[in-house]
């Protein structure tokens, strides 16, 4: 029987329980590594929210997670499992960097930044739309193609950075520094020193835009119909293929937000692997956030805190193997994302729904 959970339990209690379980198992891991779980938790909390600096870093990482989570979520709403956020972000970064490298010394700063963001989004969208087209028109499953496209994007970036775009006379596979970038939030009065930048409000705007698009336009209604029930889409006269291609394009454009945050907001150049796996974490963010923009933002904050707090934890407890921190992060992803429904059945029995 398909039981119904009350809304509050579904949206708040269930994720909270999953998080608690993840932390509980993490405590055992820390204990096994010979450290105090309480101290580790404290280091994690202080590391992520203990000072304005750490809050800024948490928000900076959360920005990556938010873009990645939104990208996965909108594809999910169309019934597509986009595992290619990494690759779409990388190609988005490439598009962005080409505009910066070409125009950053000739055009006014604000204009070139806007153009670069647009180019990044466009490049990401195009790179997402290709697997979408392959799925819609040729029946190649988007899970397979997006995984492959991640490799293609990574290889392309390596080739270009090593052979073409590398700064002359340097050894590191990086471009030269951009002359301008996105201003950090500290320019607008955000306290402390951290790379959190204008990409954060951009992510919030993107979340709002996704919500309006998916839940408040006829087009988004069609998107959700395709995602829930492709047969019903045919019945309603909704063109499934076009929705799939468009959803993948939007997903890719959102993925490029990672590049905006990392390259324009922090690195000021194109480097290898700037996504740092955020594209994959985005899957967990979307799962935990139930593919809803508000949920995605909250989950992004959690994963941002884990990324930042985890780094601090490794610093505070040098005896704790570095891998332990990754295990803790992995456990949170496992229990909140992949095993997100673990408590659903017992909880619905308990609540007598």
């Amino acid at each position: 029987m398909n039981r119904e959970l009350p809304r509050w339990a579904d949206l708040a209690l269930l994720p909270a329980l999953n998080l608690l379980l993840a932390l509980g198992v993490s405590a055992l891991v820390v204990l096994a590594a010979g450290e105090s779980p309480a101290a580790a938790l404290q280091a994690l909390a202080i590391g992520s929210f203990g000072s304005w600096d750490s809050v800024g870093y948490t928000l900076f990482y959360a920005t990556d997670m938010a873009f990645a989570g939104l990208a996965v979520a909108i594809a999910f709403k169309c019934g597509l499992f986009n595992i290619g956020v990494e690759g779409q972000a990388a190609i988005g970064g490439l598009g962005l960097a080409l505009v910066m490298l070409g125009l950053d010394s000739t055009l006014p700063a604000a204009l070139v930044v806007i153009l670069a963001v647009a180019a990044g989004a466009l490049a990401g969208a195009a790179y997402g739309a290709i697997p979408g087209w392959l799925q819609a028109r040729r029946g190649s499953h988007v899970v397979i193609t997006t995984i492959m496209f991640n490799f293609i994007a990574a290889s392309l970036l390596v080739y270009l950075l090593v052979n073409v775009l590398i700064e002359p006379g340097q050894m590191a596979p990086e471009t030269r520094r951009f002359a301008v970038g996105l201003p950090p939030l500290s320019d607008f009065g955000f306290p402390g020193r951290s790379p959190v930048n204008l990409a954060l409000p951009l992510a919030l705007l993107a979340a709002l835009a996704v919500w309006v698009l998916v839940w408040r336009t006829p087009w988004g209604y069609g998107l959700r119909v395709v995602g829930s029930n492709p047969d019903a889409a045919a019945y309603a006269g909704i063109d499934q293929g076009r929705r799939i291609i468009a959803a993948m394009a939007i997903s890719g454009a959102l993925a490029a937000g990672i590049a905006v945050n990392e390259l324009l907001g922090s690195q000021d150049k194109l480097i290898l692997n700037f996504t740092g796996g955020a594209g994959f974490t985005g899957i967990a963010v979307a799962l935990m956030g139930r593919n809803h923009p508000v949920g995605v933002l909250l989950a992004a904050l959690l994963f941002g805190a884990l990324a930042q707090g985890g780094a601090e934890l490794a610093f505070e407890m040098p005896d704790l193997p570095r891998e332990t921190v990754m295990v803790v992060q992995g456990l949170v992803i496992l229990f909140t994302g992949a095993l997100g429904a673990l408590f659903r059945a017992p909880l619905s029995r308990l609540l007598g729904a």
Binding site: M1, N2, E4, V212, R216, T217, P218, Y221, G222, R224, V225, S228, N229, D231, A232, A234, Y235, A236, G237, I238, D239
Partner: protein, 507 residues
Amino acid sequence: MTSAAPPAIECRGITKRFGHVLANDAVDLVVHRGSIHGVIGENGAGKSTLMAILHGFYPADSGEILVDGRKVSIDDSADAARLGIEMVHQHFMLVEPFRVVENVMLGAEGGALLKHGEAEARAALKRLAEEYGLAVDPDARVEDLPVGARQRVEILKALYRGAEVLILDEPTGVLTPQEADDLFRVLRALRDEGKAIILITHKLREVMAVTDRVSVMRGGKMVAHRETSETSAAELGELMIGRRPAAAQRPAPSAPGPEILAVEDLRVRDNAGVERVRGVSLALHAGEILGIAGVAGNGQTELLEAVSGMRAPESGTVRLRGEPITGLDAAALRRLGLAHVPEDRLRHGLIPEFEACESAILGYHGDPAWRRFLGLVSGRKVEAHAARLMRENDVRPALPRLRSSLFSGGNQQKLILAREMEREPDVLLVGQPTRGVDIGGIEAIHERLRGWRRAGKAVLLVSVELDEILALSDRILVIFDGRIVGELPGGAADERRLGLLMAGAAA
């Protein structure tokens, strides 16, 4: 009833509640070995719930089950199998790409290697085929078999697992009369071997033809047990619906208006590439209900899908008011005044996980009526629209924010009908409008369709329920194997001739 041996199955006071629906209310049932026992009742009478409890699909809230006189608890289908209770579901539980013998072994593979189990299953299949006349090629792939043969595989599977009690849920719904006769022959052979057979159906003719005893359910209660030889179809029908059925209503002759929808030599393939509609032509006039009668699976589904714009036809033309509309999508057709109440409401008619008010705009979601500034969809307007539809059409509960899947089948159907009729389309395509709808709901839906016709609109009705076709149609076309094989006037249709045509037996 005095009998030396205890009954194969005895249910005492079985009660099962879903939310505030009492699906089974202190139900008693006694089934003896060597008998075919019919359990009849309208949709929603509680037959399926009772059988699901017997088969361990869910537990009863109270009551007990005795097998061969011993009290048992059946927690899952493995328990049921151990007790020799097997079920042949209405929708077959077969692995289609597997061969027959592999399907029969399923769940009884017998060891780590398949070889031994397969040899055993093969031998058993041969024996069963001889014993009961259940011949199926063990190496045929299930997906290549016709429906009747697939059902035989299900029965063989049950027998191979040692079934002593065989439950068949609406087994003839998908069969031609010829296939149904074969099935009954097999059931009689099984009975003569001492098996107990429970036949769930709502077809009185079958009950009278094949059962020894019959139990009637209504509204979750067991209302009567009868020896088949001592009762009549008329009595059973009365017991089933709780009153004397109104003399089958036949439509008054209509004065059809001009031709409004014309289909010419339409050919349609299904997803597997099989040609399911093989050159169908028909004409639909304003002010008439045209019924398409036929056994399920003879192409009527694909015909409806092609005319409604859900599926592109292979060839042929469809004209609406003389204008060709072939190949237009469903949204375009709706704008032209051709609406569609689909056969499968959960797959096509609504989105189960959407709120009812969102399902109530499916297909009309671009309508400016629920837009506000910037063209955004207004949740409030969508909700108000659904609330009005629900009020005007007696959809219960009238909660627009409730998930679509939580409404009963009849109320879902009322909502879909309301949605499709709201724009007053000139042509309404209707597939299986009362499938899974309770009897009160059926009458309400039929009345709406009749009213529609009186208002001068045209209805193309596809139904596998003969009674429904007869009750509504001004003209009846019979579809068999993708072709129209006969046309009868609705008011005076000869049921026997109709039945023969549906079976493909008469030209």
